[in-house]
Amino acid sequence: MDALLLEWDTVVAAFWMTVRLAAVSALGSLVLGTLLTAMRVAPLATLRRTATVYVAVARNTPLTLVLLFTGLGVGANLGVELSSDIATNNFWLACIGLTAYTAAFVCEALRSGINTVPVGQAEAARSLGLGFLQTLRLITLPQAFRAVVAPLGSILIALTKNTTIALVVGVSEASVRMREMIETYGDQVMQIFLGFAAGFVLLCLPMGLLFGWLSRRLAVAR
């Protein structure tokens, strides 16, 4: 355990980075995912098709490639600079990549949530004179969200674990630190691995429990 205790500050900093990446990307992908869902059920075929193609592309491309593309393509090639500080810039680029990827999964989950809302709900909304956006915002989406709390939780947990891949954009999070520590303290591989693994279990386990509880609490009684 020496290595983990000696480098305690580094380990904590690494996991703090993981949490920040996950939190920012979770918020971003929730917003983008909701937007994509709205586009996929919209009356306009152009919007529907755009969203469908986006989801198919983002879902089926390896995250490693998505992040490399944001780092090398969007960052280095398009010259998008989000901060003059390289570390901050890489952080935001990683968030963009993670958001772009995760939003597709949020969209899929939400769309299956919309499928669980009985047809009569939207029909009743329309007969009250609500338009498409009003129906979606006031009637359909709130019920859809409550139906997919558990899948959204799984997506958030997957996202938290996926932040480890941000190392290809040059963000120093948990996986980078674990590799460095294994190289420095070669004799303590097992302890270091179990320590970092425990960190992720500690992050993901409460999330799973919380979302399980929330999904039961928020489920729409029908």
Binding site: F69, N77, F132, K161, A174, C204
Partner: protein, 266 residues
């Protein structure tokens, strides 16, 4: 699935408004595409010289095909081993004996919670200290893919067995089958069949995850594309687009297969 019940069928005025809106949106999308086109164009990513390498046979034989072979080799090995791991641990978690059930549950939950990349790093950088041998990048990747995806598949199969009607197991016991036979001959085949779409979706995840091999220097498709082709022809964007297209093609066909299986079975 159609979502047309979310809005009224537009009348003449709505039709007109929708046409205008569709036009505006198309313009915005085109403008966005144009901006991206121009920015990449400034870096000459669209110039013919950056795309023609894909027409040269040696680019395919030295980079793309070996890369694809690497990806598929890791994925196939991962699928086979993860399937076995899943089968064994699903059965173990369904065991009547607490001393089998609980350790199996602990193993499955642990590997489900640990990021795949940490597993790969553990195998790749830790193997020398732990077992005295430096494992190859291929072994490290397959190790990670097996344990992570195997534990997910174990959960899928377990859910499949639990979803079967109770009468199946009861009938099997009633005709005198032993516990192992009930599981092997009656429950698992049905569970596997019912869960095939979910299992195939997990294989898509596995195939995509094999791209992590690039981080430990395994010669798979993303590595050969971005570090091989792009390093030689400095055509990072064309290379990324081509590699993504190959992955999307494979995954969409797997998706379609899963979809078809979920329709025809039962």
């Amino acid at each position: 699935m159609s979502y047309a019940n979310l809005y009224e069928t537009p009348g003449p005025r709505g039709e007109r408004r929708n046409r205008v809106l569709a036009g505006v949106i198309a313009l915005v999308l085109l403008a966005l595409a144009y901006v991206i086109y121009v920015r990449f164009d400034a870096k000459e990513q669209w110039s013919a010289a950056k795309w023609t390498p894909f027409l040269r046979p040696e680019v395919w034989t030295t980079f793309i095909l070996p890369g694809l072979a690497g990806t598929l080799a890791a994925a196939v090995a991962g699928v086979v081993l993860a399937g076995l791991f899943g089968l064994v641990f699903a059965t173990a978690r369904l065991s009547d004996h607490r001393w089998i059930r609980w350790p199996a549950a602990a193993v499955v939950e642990f590997f489900r919670a640990v990021p795949l990349l940490l597993l790969i790093f553990f195998a790749f950088f830790g193997s020398y200290v732990l077992i005295g041998v430096n494992v190859s990048a291929f072994t490290a990747v397959v190790f990670g893919l097996t344990f992570y995806n195997g534990s997910v598949i174990a959960e899928i199969i377990r859910a499949g067995v639990l979803s079967l009607p109770r009468g199946q197991a009861e009938a099997a016991h009633a005709i005198g089958l032993r516990k192992g036979q009930v599981m092997r001959l009656v429950l698992l085949p049905q569970a596997f069949r019912a869960m095939m779409p979910a299992v195939i979706s997990q294989f898509v995840v596995l195939l995509k995850d094999s791209a992590l091999g690039l981080i430990v220097g395994y010669d798979e498709l993303v590595d050969r594309g971005l570090n091989g082709i792009a390093a030689n022809f400095s055509n990072i964007i064309p290379a990324a687009i081509l590699i993504a297209a190959i992955f999307i093609g494979i995954n969409l066909s797997l998706d379609r297969l899963a979809h078809r299986l979920s329709r025809t079975k039962r």
